[in-house]
Amino acid sequence: MSQTHRLPNGGRVDRSKVLTFTFNGQQYKGYEGDSLAAALLANGVDVIGRSFKYSRPRGIYAAGAEEPNAVLQIGATEATQIPNVRATQQALYQGLVATSTNGWPNVNNDVMGILGKVGGKLMPPGFYYKTFMYPQSFWMTYEKYIRKAAGLGRSPTQNDPDTYDYMNHHCDVLIVGAGPSGLAAALAAARSGARVIVADEQEEFGGSLLDSRESLDGKPAMEWVGKVIAELKELPGVTLLPRATVNGYHDHNFLTIHERLTDHLGDRAPIGQVRQRIHRVRAKRVVLATGACERPLVYGNNDVPGNMLAGAVSTYVRRYGVAPGKKLVLSTNNDHAYRVALDWIDAGQQVVAVADARSNPRGALVEAARAKGIRILTASAVIETRGSKHVTGARVAAIDLKTNSVASPGEWLECDLVATSGGYSPVVHLASHLGGKPTWREDILGFVPGEAPQKRVCVGGINGVYGLGDSLADGFEGGVRAASEAGFKAVEGVLPKALNQHHEATLALFHVPHEKGTARAPKQFVDLQNDVTAAAIELATREGFESVEHVKRYTALGFGTDQGKLGNVNGLAIAARSLNVTIPQMGTTMFRPNYTPVTFGAVAGRHCGHIFEPVRYTALQAWHVKQGAEFEDVGQWKRPWYFPRNGEDLHAAVKRECQAVRDSVGILDASTLGKIDIQGPDAREFLNRIYTNAWTKLDVGKARYGLMCKEDGMVFDDGVTACLADNHFVMTTTTGGAARVLQWLEIYQQTEWPDLKVYFTSVTDHYATLTLSGPNSRKLLSEVTDIDLDREAFPFMTWKEGLVGGVPARVFRISFTGELSYEVNIQADYAMGVLEKIVEAGKPYNLTPYGTETMHVLRAEKGFIIVGQDTDGSMTPDDLNMGWCVGRTKPFSWIGWRGMNREDCVRDQRKQLVGLKPVDATQWLPEGAQLVFDPKQTIPMTMVGHVTSSYAHNSLGYSFAMGVVKGGLKRIGERVFSPQADGSVIEAEIVSSVFFDPKGERQNI
């Protein structure tokens, strides 16, 4: 039997297009135009999932974004899995595969359900906190199983095959919601010539008109919608976005829209199409036409499948041609809900009774229902329903709201559908995303947007304007206002005529009383998605949770993807009554973005795979690849780490590269070092202030190493700066610190010393740097340059200009390895040619390319620091034994000088950088290992420092390390111990941090 609950006619579905889909392994049929929820209901599928906490069977409850139960897993293949999709918001397509997100072994026979039944009373709010509290460390263990039992959908284990992207817009007026008020606003704004975006979360525009009984100008309301869409499409500067949820209202009118472009077409996006898109919109004015959301009444067993929102029943009947039952009981406190009774009769189904909580309802729709002979029970409500996997009956009884009690035993009415309506809650989520507190309005029994500094206009249902004619007028006026505030002249327009019916006031009933009292009555659910009952909220208030935010967190009311769409106001009302305060006194919780869940695909957009983050390559990347380099990431840079030959591992390669540099000559690509060009008459003075050492006497042609400190006196960068001319310097920084240092220079120049005439330009990418290092570097370089490399003519710490490989170059004679070294800087686009010439000339010298690892080893052998490895933001130059680099007599109080003279920075026993030599030369001290003086001390031991750099494979032939030790510089020759995790202890001698060539003779040959 197919589509047992499909009405013979009606609805906006295309009955000529039959679509097959699968739910929990079973095949069903539906029509194009169906939502997944409509198709499931058409096939009489009652149980859609199991509830979050008690594992109770749940069915489809609503028809839109507010759906709490039908939250499904969608996807035909592993790679296309999407969790947390509301069946009410998913269009049906051929081959759709959906499964319940929880329920084990399946939704109809659920093991956890037994626990829910038996343990319902045993699982009060805070159950998990109370039960799994001790021992504290075990929470992590418990949590895994608790989460598994609850089931929240799952993410795919394979890569998403689809493409997602972002689009940025500026517009004059962004209209959120394309219901009657939104469309009226769109017309007004668009006709004025403003750039307008209209976004609506549904499959098609129309909002409440999609299933409305009402007419406009005497014709079906959707005809007017069609005309409006046609007109808007013709106007320039108008963008219409259906299937696009405005999910977040962010600062300064920045809104994010989640558009689902192809989710209605299939499991995967058609080839070449983007599946989902995030629109990032900066709007001059925003019109919020988000409408209102019906809220249910809270009564016993209101979660049994077959209980539904009244408006949702109308939607299924009128929009999808689906009757989710045969015999309807309606429980209401307002006039609007009567339309479901009329729709139901029109669909040829039976209305068993309407229970109206009001004592004498006389509104137009009520009278229309009376005229149809519908049985109306006044001052009554559905107290509870019965049925296990579907409703079989509802008990309607008279209630006394003054005493909040049941006034008569009432009667059980046989039915298979209970529609409920407790009035409407304006959808204030977006209006509240920026913290604007909603205001309670007693006349409409709902929260409306409060005052807010945002440049926005709220129209229609969100203002509590529910009549169609009023809504259109409110929308049009709002559109005019938004457009004129955005600088456009409004154009007059005539609105279609709507029949404004007389509606009587809604009665303030939220929680229907029960004879047994809330605690003992059948479960009365407030938040179906999070399984929060009225009893749980009352218990929370009795346990002392008085703030609405605390009640929310204790009970989970309105948590997660639900964001309190259905349960918020009812929960507040129950808490308020329990605490004997009014609803406005109780206040409401914060609504946060996003309004409905957004897929990670959409969030990531194009920022995934190899373009997740930009990668920076030097000009010599291709050559490194050809040499078989292994790369390491340094910031965004890819730097050659080592160049293995003949299957060497890291250690073997590094040992060979180190030896080659020490014995003959090596070449390193140092292009990634930050280079900042500094010019201006005050450049020298600026350097004096920013570096710890003195720059006044650095002659043109010379270079100097400098340390940079923060104001607190702690080292934060270092590098060599060369004097190109009296007003022109080039500074090098660490690879990772380049951007930070540039910003550091700028902030001091711009905010502290604007009187200094000096300018900074990053030239990191403009020059490639080739470092030749080793005793044969002079001989090799002399073969490719016209620069006089003579020891006297081109001394250490100077630079020269000339041709290298036929290309203009700056050559710096500086050394980071302790060997005779030349750093050749060439314009980056010539670098490859120069490199090839050097390599060719280097063959007789066994010129060996080396990577960052060898560079690290060689510099450590010389005791040169790496900022960020041997320092951690808590070390002064003195701590690093680099007091020689501190200009103690400089006249200006340079950055760091005051800080490093604080009492704490000059005390004894600070941690100081020293060399560490394991007593057993084969042992390697792990980097980061803690050091102690007394290895026999009981735990907790007194830690006196740690290892910062450590190398077992090097040119020295023994393992060595650098580290910081309390008072270390006065402890040279003493021993420290490093207790390891496995219980062993490595003993090391404190030595000078300069292991190799302490007199510095090798760089000066």
């Binding site: 962010h250 300064h252 920045f254 900066r282 001059k284 902030i747 905010t751 502290e752 604007p754």
Partner: protein, 110 residues
């Protein structure tokens, strides 16, 4: 995401082009050496955390790389003005109490 008027570029640009650099109007002491530890500590570490108007330093890092000041309401996140380093704000807690909204909409072509 804030919309910030860069007084150097003369345009409203999105927050992602900018970098916030903390409270504005905290000059480096002219003679740090003359500061007591307490005074130096104040300069180094102590900042206001007002509910209301806050003068802060911003950097147009992905634009002109220039620093400027902004007066921002920490409750509503409204930016009442941006102004050049070395100039004084028009809006202060005393001169513009919380209830008045920004009157000047820099850069917005209305």
């Amino acid at each position: 995401m804030l919309h910030i008027f860069c007084p150097h570029c003369g345009e409203l640009r999105s927050e992602e082009e900018f970098h916030a650099s903390g409270q504005a109007h905290i000059p480096r002491p002219l003679d740090p050496g003359a500061c007591t530890d307490a005074e130096w500590g104040d300069y180094m570490f102590f900042r206001d955390n007002p509910r209301g108007l806050h003068h802060e330093l911003w950097n147009h890092v992905a634009g002109c790389r220039q620093f400027f000041n902004a007066t921002r309401n920490t409750v509503t996140y409204e930016i009442l003005e941006t102004y050049l380093i070395g100039t004084q704000p028009q809006f202060t807690e005393q001169a513009a109490p919380l209830t008045t909204t920004a009157t000047r909409e820099q850069g917005e072509k209305v």
